[in-house]
């Protein structure tokens, strides 16, 4: 058959068969036992031409309500942010996206340097000493942080705030089964981690105290007070953090965090129905040799020129096999470059300006809801999300909002039984005053 991805001609094929010394391609499969041999062709859809397939898939894509043609107030861990156009142009360079993991440094300096720069930017934002070259996402990074803590402290209990992303808690619970970790939730109080409850739960079996900053409700956790409790109990202090918020918030590294993890999606990575995004993992120097995944380090070549290599590989599965610190192999390298380009485009001023715009616009919306008679339930300071109590099911209201091309907030009742009819609303820098005002009015109408 002829196909644009398959260059061999019939003439090529005959010449090659002759070199091999066989008369047909089938002979090359003679080592597959007859009983397991698959005969014929797969019962799957027939191939489509390039243009026909593009048309079909455009129509399929059009069945989704996308964030470019609707106005979104949905966040809950994935955000509709400004993506500098340059980001896609950089990651569309196929020297980056068609490359393998940079195991051959001589021909991979571009990738290695770009990742070294990513590691640096993550360290700058989080206030940590060392960051790796990326993880799958913020949730699996959180689970890896719990496992690192357990291995480091030789303890098995993990305290996680109930105000951490529910899906991160679910992922942690799955990892905990294999690792025999005992995961205990710290309740929240008025939208942030309940310090008193944390104090009561703390004991000498606790490997890690894990909180999110800003937390799932958008609230800014009192990291200083949590850190004191965590370290008094000699556990590690793990903070899951939205890196954009760190453009303006005090970095967890300055507040005593041992591990900072999260997702760099807010920097230049599209929502993409949940992935691929870009987990990051940062630690103090003390934990450098226990960090999971790939690390890029600076060194010199034989002539003393600066260059970059994958380093400290004795931690990794391809060297240590069952003794590795993690099983992670593929990571999110291309998205780490996307995040780097976005962070570079924003720069130190833009990151701050964008973070502040989120705080200002979210607080403007919060105030507008209160003035419109809606119940904003928590009093804690927020980054770009807050919680509104409605008197109808969130799902019902969201379906009505969709008819006005508005994607409403997240239904907290899905994860918190006590928060039925509570909507988590995200307001990013992309939302205009007009969009916010319309949303407040419409939500008020449906709510009434």
């Amino acid at each position: 058959m002829k196909h644009r991805y398959l260059p061999m001609t019939e003439t090529d094929k005959q010449a090659m068969l002759e070199t091999i010394g066989v008369t047909s391609v089938d002979e090359l499969f003679s080592d597959i036992p007859e009983q397991v041999r698959f005969k014929g062709e797969y019962n799957i859809k027939k191939a489509k031409s390039e243009s026909a397939l593009l048309k079909e898939l455009s129509q399929l894509a059009a069945k989704n309500a996308d964030l470019r043609s609707n106005t979104s107030f949905l966040g809950a861990g994935v955000y509709d942010h400004y993506i500098p156009v340059i980001v896609d142009h950089v990651i569309s360079r196929s020297e980056f996206y068609t490359a393998y993991t940079p195991y051959q440094p001589e021909i991979s300096q571009g990738e290695l340097q770009a990742i070294f720069e990513f590691q640096t930017m993550i360290c700058e934002l989080t206030g940590m000493d060392v960051a790796n070259s990326s993880m799958y996402d913020g949730s699996t990074a959180l689970a890896e942080a719990a496992m690192l803590s357990a291995a480091h402290t030789r303890r098995k209990k993990v305290l996680i705030s109930s105000a951490v992303h529910p899906q991160s808690k679910e992922v942690l619970n799955t990892y905990a089964i294999g690792q025999h970790l005992d995961v205990i939730e710290i309740p929240y109080k008025n939208g942030v981690t309940d310090i008193q409850a944390l104090n009561e739960l703390m004991d000498q079996d606790v490997a890690a105290v894990i909180v999110q900053y800003p937390n799932f409700f958008g609230g800014i956790e009192p990291l200083k007070e949590i850190e004191e409790v965590a370290h008094k109990g000699k556990s590690l202090f793990v903070v899951s953090s939205n890196p954009l918020a760190l453009g303006v918030l005090t970095p967890p590294g300055q507040l005593g965090a041992d591990i900072v993890i999260g997702d760099a999606q807010p920097f230049g990575i599209p929502t993409a129905f949940g992935g691929p995004h870009c987990g990051y993992f940062a630690v103090t120097n003390k934990l450098m040799r226990k960090i999971p995944g790939r690390l890029v380090g600076q060194t010199v070549d034989e002539e003393g020129r600066r260059g970059f290599v994958l380093t400290l590989q004795a931690r990794e599965q391809h060297i240590r096999r069952d003794k590795a610190t993690s099983n992670i192999c593929s990571n999110q390298a291309l998205n780490a470059i996307a995040a780097s380009v976005s962070m570079a485009a924003l720069g130190k001023n833009g990151a701050k300006e964008m973070a502040i715009a989120n705080i200002q616009k979210a607080n403007y919306a919060k105030k507008a809801f209160i003035e419109n008679g809606l119940d904003v339930v928590f009093e804690s300071a927020v980054f770009n999300e807050f919680v509104v109590k409605l008197n109808k099911p969130v799902k019902e209201i969201n379906q009505k909002l969709l008819t006005s091309n508005i994607i409403g907030g997240y239904d907290l009742g899905r994860d918190y039984p006590e928060l039925q009819n509570h909507m988590l609303i995200a307001v990013t820098e992309l939302r205009t005053k007009e969009e916010i005002d319309t949303f407040v009015t419409e939500l008020g109408d449906y709510h009434a």
């Binding site: 058959m1 597959i32 698959f38 770009a114 294999g178 129905f273 070549d301 099983n327 200002q360």
Partner: protein
């Protein structure tokens, strides 16, 4: 490639330059001190670089010029399936309805995305011969762990609590034993025999009542089909264990043999290998997992399902192992893989495997006179050579790999699998032309001759790359893992 050193992006930073255009700030401004608690406003800004848009574009263009991708040249990296990454995949993944959809939108507003995932699952079920597939795992290694967690849940549900061991061949990928440990098992190694296949005697010796599973790559990492697969399945099933298929090498057997028909209970696939999701310089990937009927209850949740004409996310899965990844996996990579499968169709996928295997056998036969061929039989999509002969001349496999760089090739995988001395593992894939294969073969033959006549040129390679061999020991002993403004070359405290 550009020879000149490309400064770090931080070194090109100039205070006052910007590369962004933020939306208008159109709400009344409130003093930040009123909105953020005292002590939580950052005092020192993060040292992110300050550059104009053009500066940034030139920086990354310069970096890309110092990087070899598949579009740059041949990439015969064994076990990695470095095939062409079709451009239509990239266009489809960037469509607004796929790239800019939020995972937590109401299901009614994402029917197109769910339909794509559902149809991808259906296609993968047929391709693997399994009964159900989840597309949630992020990559191959996460797929392995997911599959093992399901096997664990299956045994536990049967009250079978003493199955603590997972068997892996000595030729297995490093992720196999590592994933077994993360899933809470002990990894046990089974030896390969002189033919490069799992030693059945050794397998019989290591299996028992404590066997949870055997993880197998078929064809294995030597590129050889495990002919005794049915007997192995019998041995494992005979003691109550499960058979796990590492799908890294699926490119070798599409339309020729399906894991489900070989007796495998669980399969993971690497969509970024066989199904052309690009490797992205290390990721993102996607690692769907397929299972037989008895393991369906344990699939991670939610499961993408179809009820009537509607596509739904099924969370009501009481026996599920739970969630392994937020949302529904690396959707963007799944879109690319689906686009690829639909571009190829059934006859296309069959041709893919036939050409992948033809190409590998052709290269193997043409190279065999010049290098040691440890396993002289038909290979599948990849094969291994040994650099033993060259080693006697003082030229190591590493040197051969580095010499290939001078000719514009990415080297094959080297020193893996571990059971072959001075291993060189070559996987051409089906998307390369005969001229490309011949060019590489001729270069390898030339290097073999150089090893005899002028070994220094090989030992001192590469000669043409932007940098020469790196001091990796220095990098590990004195780690510099980030840029610092003042004390640039000062190693970090260890």
């Amino acid at each position: 490639m550009h020879k000149e050193d490309q400064p770090l992006i931080f070194e090109g930073s100039t205070p006052g330059r910007i590369g962004y255009s933020l939306p208008e700030f159109d709400v009344p401004e409130v003093d930040l001190q009123e909105l953020i608690p005292a002590g939580y406003i950052r005092e020192q800004e993060p040292e992110l670089p300050e550059l104009s848009e053009l500066d940034i574009m030139r920086h990354y263009t310069a970096l890309s010029n110092r990087n070899h991708g598949l579009d740059t040249g041949f990439y015969p990296l064994g076990s990695c399936t470095m095939k062409y990454n079709p451009k239509i995949n990239e266009s489809v993944a960037r469509m607004n309805g796929f790239a800019h959809v939020h995972p937590l939108q109401d299901e009614s507003s994402v029917q197109g995305a769910l339909e794509l995932l559902y149809d991808l699952q259906e296609h993968l079920v047929e391709i693997t011969g399994m009964d159900a597939v989840t597309v949630q795992p992020a990559a191959g290694a996460q797929g392995e762990w997911t599959g093992l967690m399901m096997i664990r849940a299956f045994h536990e549900a049967n009250g079978d609590l003493a199955r603590t061991k997972v068997i892996v061949p000595d030729s297995a990928h490093g992720t196999n034993p590592a994933s077994a440990v993360v899933a809470g098992f002990e990894a046990i190694t089974v030896k390969s025999n002189e033919n490069g296949l799992v030693d059945l005697e050794d397998l019989r010796r290591v299996v028992g009542e404590d066997t949870a599973a055997l993880m197998l790559t078929n064809p294995n990492t030597l590129g050889l089909f495990e002919e005794n697969i049915l007997e192995m399945a019998e041995i494992i099933h005979g003691v109550g264990g499960k058979l796990y298929y590492d799908g890294a090498n699926l490119n070798a057997v599409m339309s020729k043999a399906r894991p489900g028909d070989m007796g495998f209970d669980v399969v993971h696939l690497n969509l970024h290998k066989t199904f052309t999701g690009p490797h992205g310089g290390g990721g993102p990937g996607s690692g769907p997992v397929g299972v037989k009927a008895d393991l369906i209850p344990y699939l991670p949740k939610p499961v993408v399902a179809k009820v009537g004409d509607e596509f739904v996310l099924d969370y009501d899965r009481p026996q599920s192992i739970g969630r392994v990844k937020p949302y529904y996996g690396n959707f963007g990579i799944n879109v690319r893989a689906y686009t690829y499968i639909r571009s190829m169709g059934p006859d296309g996928l069959k041709a893919v495997t036939e050409y992948a295997v033809l190409n590998a056998n052709y290269m193997m036969r043409r190279l065999a006179p010049f290098f040691d061929l440890p396993f002289d039989r038909h290979c599948k999509h990849e094969f291994v050579l040994s650099g033993k002969r060259q080693k006697k001349l003082g030229v190591r496999t590493l040197d051969i790999a580095k010499r290939l760089l001078d000719f514009g090739y990415h080297p094959p995988t080297i020193y893996f699998p571990l059971n072959v001395e001075e291993c060189i593992m070559i996987e051409p894939t089906e998307t390369e032309s005969k001229e490309t294969l011949d060019g590489f073969i001729d270069t390898m033959i030339q290097i073999a001759k150089e090893a005899e006549e002028n070994p220094e040129i090989v030992q001192e390679a590469p000669h043409t790359t932007v940098i020469s061999r790196m001091d990796e020991t220095l990098a590990a002993r004195h780690p510099i893992l980030r840029y610092k403004k003042e004390q640039e070359n000062e190693p970090q405290n260890v």
